[in-house]
């Protein structure tokens, strides 16, 4: 790879990443579906942040901006496959109405089949399963 210097200011990237993370957390904490925001808003936003950060690391820290060959030979096929997997898995998810009870539902102590949150409520009267969060 080329010579003695990186060819970009690592520090700048770093700062940007930092800010993005902060924003992302704020976003994730604010636009909860529970507070009436649409899931799309939450997830779309988060995904944008994540992808942006990923790209920064990928392009600069991992130098992909400067290595055409590897990018084209290796990195391009991978996402294609990822998409293949996901697209093939999705239809089955859409098929869930065939299930006796949705994914993730379990027996609660009384042997009823309930979903996770209800189960938490029954187990220890609160949805707060984790002290660390306050």
């Amino acid at each position: 790879m080329s010579g003695e210097n990186l060819g970009y200011s690592a520090f700048k990237i770093f700062v940007i990443l930092f800010i993005l993370t902060a924003l992302e957390v704020w976003w994730g904490m604010t636009f909860r579906p529970e507070d009436g925001y649409s899931r799309l808003l939450l997830w779309g936003g988060l995904m944008c942040f994540a992808v942006a950060k990923g790209l920064l690391i990928f392009m600069y820290f991992m130098h992909m901006r400067f290595e055409r060959f590897i990018v084209w030979s290796l990195i391009v096929p991978t996402p294609a496959l990822i998409l293949v997997i996901l697209f093939a898995l999705m239809p089955d998810v859409s098929f869930n109405e065939q299930r006796d009870h949705p994914v993730g539902d379990m027996l609660d102590p009384t042997g009823q089949v309930v979903d996770m949150v209800t189960r938490d409520l029954e187990r220890h009267g609160t949805a707060e399963a984790q002290p660390g969060s306050e």
Binding site: Q98, R99, D100, H101
Partner: protein
């Protein structure tokens, strides 16, 4: 090899190494498709194998000093890319509507007595037996007055029969060779299945997905009765189900 191959296929029928007789409506389609492919594939098979044998024979007795020197021929390549392509596409499209007819829910029979909404029964597979639950007097499944009948699945003849397939423990598979019908029973899922049996009689119900040591003997039976007999049978079942007072407990 090819001669032998064709011969066995030709004579197979006499040896009874062939399909069990078909009794389901869509079974016919499946067999038709099967034979279609059998013919196309069979011809390809014979042709290719014969050329292979012939070439090996012919050119291993080659006298001239050197072999023909060629790196290929584009016209030929195109030819034998295009021809199979056409065949294959044909095969592929020939399948589609049958598949849709058998499996797609929106193409499920509606007009008949049974449909996706009110199936005739619920077939529950478990290690290593089959249980059939008919809706009781209230005509709905999953209620207390369901009637359970182990081992035997009795259906009316010549009607579109829709039933729900379930599994208690591991994956099983509902397979009736004579119906050409196979559907895995997924634990945690309720899978609607339909068929239409054209002949009265009793057929083996086979479990076609490995489900443990007893897989090989997880036999059930499907009995096809004319409508009247079916009604009678169901009534009788209902009778002794409630008479000896055993309540189905969920």
């Amino acid at each position: 090899v090819p001669i032998l191959g064709v011969y066995t296929f030709a004579t197979a029928a006499e040896h009874g190494w062939w399909f069990p007789p078909n009794v389901a409506t869509f079974g016919g389609d499946i067999d038709r498709l099967f034979y279609l492919i059998l013919w196309m594939v069979g011809i390809t098979f014979v042709v290719t194998e014969l050329t292979l044998v012939w070439f090996v024979y012919r050119y291993s007795r080659q006298r001239q000093a050197k072999a023909a020197f060629t790196h290929g021929n584009h016209k030929l390549e195109l030819l034998w890319t295009a021809v199979p392509a056409v065949l294959l596409l044909f095969i592929a499209f020939a399948q589609m509507d049958t598949w849709a007819k058998i499996k797609y829910e929106r193409t499920f029979p509606e007009e008949g007595r049974y449909s996706r909404e009110n199936p005739i029964a619920e077939v529950v597979a478990s290690q290593f037996d089959w249980r059939v639950r008919y809706p009781g007097r209230d005509g709905r499944l999953g209620t207390v007055d369901d009637i359970e009948n182990p081992f035997e699945f009795v259906v009316p003849m010549g009607e579109d029969v829709v039933f729900n397939l379930r599994a208690r423990d591991v994956i099983h598979s509902f397979f009736v060779p004579e119906f050409r019908l196979k559907q895995d029973a997924l634990p945690g899922h309720t899978i609607p299945v339909w068929f239409n049996a054209m002949q009265a009689g009793t057929y083996d119900l086979v479990c076609a997905e490995l489900c443990g040591w007893g897989h090989y003997k997880m036999a059930g039976r499907v009995r096809v009765l004319p409508r009247a007999d079916f009604e009678a049978w169901l009534a009788g079942l209902e009778e002794d189900w409630f008479s000896n007072g055993t309540e189905e407990t969920e």
